[in-house]
């Protein structure tokens, strides 16, 4: 990996040239006081001074709703797969969201390769950017606060008087060479980058009071905690926490017929384990009837089952669920309350 440096004004012209020359460029733009990833018409649209977007960049890899195939009934039926994977440069992805993409890569790319996801993943160039936390970020507690070299094509960090650029792939290097003016990093630039990272770490306020690798063990010991009951009573089963999460990957599949009742399309749409009918199976039986078992299941997914399987937390600490839960259910408070309870029991 190489570290390069751009002067501040050169970052803007780099982005401008990306927008002008690449087939599609998206980045964080303002929306009613928040931020969303959206098409950039010019560099003025881009606002890198944000914490998290409403939806994570996952929406470009696994859209809220997509058509998987079109069909025409008959003997034999005609089936035509649909695959849309336009090239896209995503600018300004924070380390937690890069970790989120690592997680969806596992879900859609490891054992069951999802063709649509893979094709879009190949077509996407990721230009990461460093960030400053708000009161809900807890990336440092799950180790997702630093950009991992294999997780991006380029990664930019504002170190005050200049911008460092880490090169994570050949694709990233080519973009930088083609569109940007940059120079080699000096020892002072490296020191500046270190300082910036320490400042960010220090600014993260929300935290899990437990070592991340202990989470599966902790959860195993608290499955009958009264806390689940309390959370279930508060939970609206609204699904907001699932829908905004960068690592939730559940979906529902259904057919949409045209009016001629002969042609139709098969669509998939985001689903969420906190929704009432998520665990309802054929015959109508719902094996997670109560809100408390659904909330608990969500925590076990993030911090137990998937962690045990992949060796890493499936929660990136982005805090989106905390921000969007009207009932104020959030991972730091939940995990810390469970920990306190486990410690009390031991004493």
């Amino acid at each position: 990996m190489t570290l390069r440096v751009m002067e501040k004004g050169d970052l803007a012209s780099f982005v401008e040239r990306l927008i002008a020359s690449e087939p599609g460029a998206v980045g964080p733009v303002r929306k009613d006081g928040k931020h969303v990833f959206a098409r950039l018409a010019s560099v003025e649209d881009l606002d890198l001074a944000y914490t998290t977007t409403l939806l994570p960049p996952k929406k470009y890899l696994f859209p809220p709703q997509e058509t998987l195939l079109r069909f025409r009934l008959g003997a034999p039926p005609v089936v035509e797969p649909v695959l849309e994977a336009p090239p896209l440069v995503v600018i300004g992805v924070h380390p937690c969201d890069l970790r989120g993409i690592w997680a969806t890569d596992r879900a859609f790319g490891d054992d069951h390769v999802d063709t649509n996801y893979r094709a879009r993943r190949e077509a996407i160039t990721l230009i990461g950017a460093d960030c400053l936390p708000d009161e809900h970020c807890f990336c440092t507690s799950v180790g997702s606060h630093l950009p991992e070299p294999a997780s991006f094509d380029l990664f930019v960090t504002d170190i005050g008087d200049a911008v460092t650029v880490e090169i994570g792939s050949e694709r990233g290097r080519a973009l930088l060479e083609r569109y940007a003016r940059s120079r080699e990093a000096t020892a002072a630039d490296l020191a500046g980058l270190q300082k910036r990272r320490h400042a960010k770490e220090a600014a993260v306020k929300a935290r899990l009071n437990v070592d991340v690798q202990m989470l599966p063990l902790l959860l195993e010991s608290v499955s009958t905690s009264p806390l689940w009951e309390q959370l279930g009573a508060k939970c609206l089963s609204c699904g907001n926490c699932n829908l905004v999460c960068p690592t939730c990957y559940c979906f529902d599949v259904g057919d949409l017929m045209q009016l001629n009742l002969e042609e139709g399309e098969r669509i998939r749409r985001w689903d969420g384990c906190t929704l009432v009918d998520f665990a309802t199976v054929a015959g109508g039986h719902n094996f997670r009837r109560e809100a408390k078992s659904r909330v608990r299941h969500r925590y076990y997914r993030k911090f137990q089952y998937l962690m045990t399987r992949y060796g890493r937390s499936f929660c990136t600490g982005c805090g989106r669920c905390s921000r969007s839960c009207l009932a104020h259910i959030n991972p730091p408070e939940t995990i810390n309350a469970l920990l306190a309870e486990a410690e009390r029991e031991e004493a």
Partner: protein
């Protein structure tokens, strides 16, 4: 054989039928697929041999009950069209005041010429096979319901709340804009029409099957709504539900 359909209205503004009329091209196709036998708002002929009855409006008068029962006897499939037919709708707001008072508000000194009973959804009197919720109904959903009926399947309504569609549309939650919202307890299917336009959801599609109304009411209170406000919110569209009492 094209299925025979009839459209009826009870106490309502007929806005949902208007949505049906406004379907334009889609309607032409639908009319090609169904045989419309009776529809006061759109045609003059009428025949009583229908199989599917699309019924709009809530029951607000004694005299309407036998008429609805007759429709039920004839129709193989009875569909409640719109909030009034499905949940009682706006009409049912009057159920929380004495009936004489409601009559006076609407008809003034002519009140004594009219009879009225608390507004109830169709399902209070007859079994209902399917519903198209909303005030007014969502045209796209209406088409989906008709298609399902044509394919001989019971149309399934979402059991999840408006928040799901709202998040998928990546709206800023109106709670963050200083408003409150019925979205968390309201049945989805309108593609979060109101929050997508910066307005709060008023709950026109009725409650989800398992609303956590207690938790939702606490959230409304936390966001500055008084007890009266909260009851008013719940009484606007879902007043016949227990949680609005």
């Amino acid at each position: 054989m094209r299925p025979k359909v009839a459209v009826f209205d009870f106490g309502c503004c007929e806005g949902c039928q208007l949505q049906l009329v406004n379907l334009e091209e889609a309607l032409l196709d639908l009319v090609g697929l169904v045989d419309v036998r009776q529809w006061r708002e759109a045609m003059s002929e009428h025949a009583d041999d229908y199989e599917i009855a699309l019924v709009e409006g809530s029951i607000t008068r004694e005299s309407e009950i036998p008429r609805l029962e007759a429709i039920r006897r004839q129709a193989k499939v009875l569909v409640a069209l719109g909030a009034c037919a499905h949940t009682g709708g706006i009409n049912a707001m009057k159920n929380h005041m004495p009936m004489e008072q409601a009559l006076e508000i609407v008809y003034g000194d002519k009140a004594r010429w009219f009879d009225t009973i608390p507004a109830r959804p169709l399902s209070a009197y007859v079994p209902v096979d399917a519903a198209v919720p909303g005030c007014p109904v969502d045209r796209q959903e209406l088409v989906e319901v008709v298609k399902a009926l044509l394919m001989g399947v019971t149309p399934a309504l979402p059991t999840y709340p408006v928040c799901v569609e709202c998040k998928m549309a990546e709206n800023v939650c109106v709670f963050d804009l200083g408003l409150t919202c019925m979205g968390p307890v309201t049945r989805a299917g309108c593609r979060a029409r109101c929050p997508s336009n910066g307005n709060r959801c008023l709950g026109c599609r009725g409650l989800v099957p398992e609303p956590n109304a207690n938790a939702h009411k606490e959230i409304l209170a936390e966001h500055g709504r008084t007890v009266e406000d909260i009851l008013a919110e719940y009484r606007m569209f879902v007043s016949s539900a227990e949680v609005a009492q």
